[in-house]
């Protein structure tokens, strides 16, 4: 039973992280390799705000949300905007470089010490027994709930609101979208903002659950296979893919070794690429476009 719970929590974490990958990719055909760093910074935002405000979880979280969102906009307007018209490869490399820069800045600002934002928030991460033999932490529950909420909101927006529709249009044909009066910068920036927000949220909850240090970005890398297994341009594909990868990872921890679990997502990825390179729900044409 514990395995099932662990898989669900891990899958939720992956879902939160990967929604950003997919959003940015769908809007601007850029794979953001600085995603793990954005996640870590989200965690540190919460930590800093928590120290500043002291024992006020609601306000701390809200302020950290706003910071994360703003960070996404800043990254777009001060960096990625200039990469319009460059090759996809160059844009991806810029995000790689951005990742290095951010990692350096994180260690500069917050040092590489191990941090616990939880103690500054005045909250506790207790364990709950939900069924016989299965334990979940408070923030594990928070992770699952926020994932469900975020995906519900995103799906509804993409399906029923005009900006969701326009976001899809921008991803499909930016030139035509622009000629139909849609401001590209706004929607690109929006995709970066939401991506930074969602991954920052993942970082915050993860930081509360198990502490915070600059090496957290590795989780972002491990989440890559999830996006590719689900299909780079499919938000819906992320959910089953996250479960597959999480299952593979947790099973490897249980039956082989924790060390091997680091590779498990990538083994899943390779087998997926051999069978169905465009992913479970991705479109086949995507292979040609990148």
């Amino acid at each position: 039973m514990q395995i099932v719970v662990n898989v669900i929590v891990l899958a939720a974490l992956y879902c939160l992280i990967c929604c950003g990958y997919v959003l940015i990719y769908r809007a601007s055909r850029v794979l953001n390799l600085a995603h793990g760093e954005l996640m870590t910074i989200g965690g540190y935002f919460l930590f800093t705000v928590a120290i500043g405000l002291g024992n006020d979880p609601v306000q701390s979280f809200l302020l950290a949300f706003i910071f994360s969102l703003a960070l996404g906009f800043i990254v777009y307007f001060f960096l990625m905007r200039f990469m319009a018209g460059e090759s996809a490869l160059a844009s991806v490399l810029v995000t790689v470089a951005l990742g290095i820069l951010l990692r350096g800045l994180i260690t500069l600002i917050w040092t590489s010490q191990y941090r616990h934002p939880l103690q500054h928030l005045g909250m506790e991460n207790s364990s709950h027994q939900i069924v016989e033999g299965a334990v979940i932490s408070t923030f594990g529950i928070a992770m699952v709930i926020s994932t469900v909420l975020l995906y519900l909101v995103l799906f509804l927006c993409f399906k029923f609101t005009r900006w969701g529709l326009r976001m899809r249009a921008v991803g499909e044909n930016p030139i035509l979208a622009s000629q139909r009066g849609i401001s590209l910068h706004m929607y690109y920036a929006l995709s970066w903002g939401i991506a930074a927000f969602s991954v920052g949220l993942a970082g915050m909850i993860q930081a509360c659950d198990s502490g915070l240090d600059p090496d957290m970005f590795v989780i972002g890398l491990k989440a890559f296979p999830v996006v590719l297994v689900g299909g780079l341009d499919s938000l819906g594909g992320v959910i089953p893919a996250a479960f597959i990868v999480a299952l593979a990872e947790i099973l490897t921890i249980h039956y082989i070794s924790p060390q091997a679990s680091e590779v498990a997502p990538f083994v899943v990825l390779i087998s997926m690429l051999l069978i169905r390179p465009w992913g479970l729900f991705g479109t086949k044409e995507e292979l040609e476009r990148v």
Partner: protein, 354 residues
Amino acid sequence: MAFASGYFKTTYKSDLAIVETFSLWICLIILTLGLIFFPFFASAFLMDLANQVFLALIGAIALMLLTGYAGQFSLGHAGLIAAGAFTTAILFKELNAPIWVTLPTSGLTGAILGITFGLPSLRLKGLYLALSTLALHFIVIYIGAEYETQRGFATGVVIDSPSIGPFLIEDPRLWYFSLLIIDILVVIFSINLVRSRTGRAWMAIRDRDVAAEALGIKVASYKLSAFVLTSALTSIAGCLFAYYRGFVSVEAFSLHMTIEYLAMIIIGGLGSILGAIFGTIFVVLLPYIIDALVDILHVPTRLTTYMFAIKYSAFGLIMIIFLVFEPSGLVGIWHRIRDYFILWPFKHKPLGER
């Protein structure tokens, strides 16, 4: 001036020449003499730097062949270096093998890995390919780590200096000359390779694979050949790396190493062997340049504890600056400066020339 200012080739022989003009010969000879006499004046620190540059150069040129010429994007470079290093370490520890066994075996391991991970490239492009090579990285590192823990070398494997015949290569100067010779061979080999049919096929595939296939280029086999060659060369670099350091541990082969190699070819300028050389020198020396700057500027000692993070950020920042403002890299700057002097008082090269 040391360079031809236009297209003056009138015979086939001059078209085939690697060194185009007499004055370029002179420049090269001076450079070679400089490189030969460098060890006799340099301090131990400078020798170590030079050796590091030479070691990195092999890997950088290999990656340049794959990414800059064949257009296949790889994130598994550190994994390949690790593969070479661990092949060497395992052979040395288990069989006590000498360098003339470990070096070719490393190359062979690399070639096999190259085939395995080149295979996805037949179906995948761009980002997808990059991420499948990322998987290579993690798998190789995992195998290395498994070996370390299973055999009880928790912190890493120690390797003795290699000996060729009666010579024990331990002295930095001996290393310097061995690496110099290897590097010169690698450079000449790759310059000739990219001028040959293979190189032209790679460039055709890089620019538009469908068109290349339509022109009768066997895209699949040339893609694979690029992967095999690059991986073999990189693994050999990994083997030398292991001997030079005398110590192999998984921690050394982080993803950051891959990014450093990518940075070398980007900062140097994609699609140019000269670029790979420039880029390698720049990236290897960058942390030391920052150190020197800190010394000169008398930064308060309080800040020196942050040196690592500062270097890290500076590295990222410089990469961003190059990608955004100078996509053609150091070699692009060099060409512009050179052309300015060659063509003066004119402004532009004849249309269509590089």
